[in-house]
Amino acid sequence: MHLALAVVLSALLFGVGVYGVLARRNAVALLMAVELMLNAANLDLVAFDAYWRDRLHGGQVFALFLVVIAAAEVGVGLAIVLAVFRLRDTSDVDELTELAEHEPAQVADVTG
């Protein structure tokens, strides 16, 4: 099969993940978009493993390591989201503006 199919699908999935990370407000939905981006990288690794006919299967082994890292990332990420929720009573990333230099003006008005 053509390699272009796999790499174009990977690029599209990465774009969808970028949209999700930028557009979502809920922290859990944001983590789902991060998962999509990680999976795009995984698809590239597996596709190039098959393309180069790697005898050591380096691409697939690294895809497995990426799955492990994604699992760790989700675990710690959800723990942080839970801790923030317990502290601030919200998991809305637009309202967590404590570290912003200037207070954003009309963020809260969207819920209106």
Binding site: M1, V28, L31, A33, D49, L64, A70, A72, A79, V107
Partner: protein
């Protein structure tokens, strides 16, 4: 255009459509369920690319564990379960622009780089459990052990972060 192309194209279509629904669904639970469809389609793509073991790991860990963890997170943070508008922030047009730009740049780059590249899936080594187990425990032992320590650290960190009194 071979059968593998057709199958991969169809699976890719399902994966992409489900991914779009993941980031546009009005309901967190629906988004998590669409994530199952997307990751399952991706597991099918891995099967077409002869990565058998990675496909089953994808099903076990992503669909079995990560999505369930997401659902737990959605429930525990009392995420808006119903159909709500507030799931998306105000910068959706800019986000869509950035996403289209990213996908466009990446897509044109890889298409121009690998236009005629052909994956001969009938002559690649099948990535089954025997092949990958041999590769991991012969050549990638140190990264494997480091990954296990990383998982342990993440486990301890998650417990410390979520416990109320420490």
């Amino acid at each position: 255009m071979t059968g593998a192309d057709v199958v991969f194209g169809l699976l890719g279509l399902v994966t992409f459509a489900a991914a779009v629904l993941v980031v546009t669904a009005r309901n967190v639970i629906h988004a998590a369920l669409w994530l199952v469809v997307s990751l399952g389609g991706l597991a099918g793509c891995y099967l077409v690319l002869t990565a058998e073991f990675v496909a089953w790991v994808q099903v076990l860990i992503y669909i079995g564990a990560v999505v369930v963890l997401m659902l737990f997170g959605a429930m525990l943070t009392r995420a808006p379960i119903g159909r709500v508008q507030e799931l998306d922030s105000a910068n959706r047009p800019i986000a869509a622009l950035a996403a289209v730009a990213t996908a466009g740049v990446l897509g044109t780059l890889v298409v121009t780089a690998f236009k005629g590249a052909y994956v001969d899936i009938h002559h690649t080594g099948i990535g089954d459990g025997r092949a990958l187990g041999g590769a991991i425990f012969r050549y990638f032992v140190l990264p494997f052990e480091v990954a296990s320590v990383l998982l342990l650290a993440a486990l301890v960190g998650a417990i410390v972060l979520t416990r109320r009194e420490i």
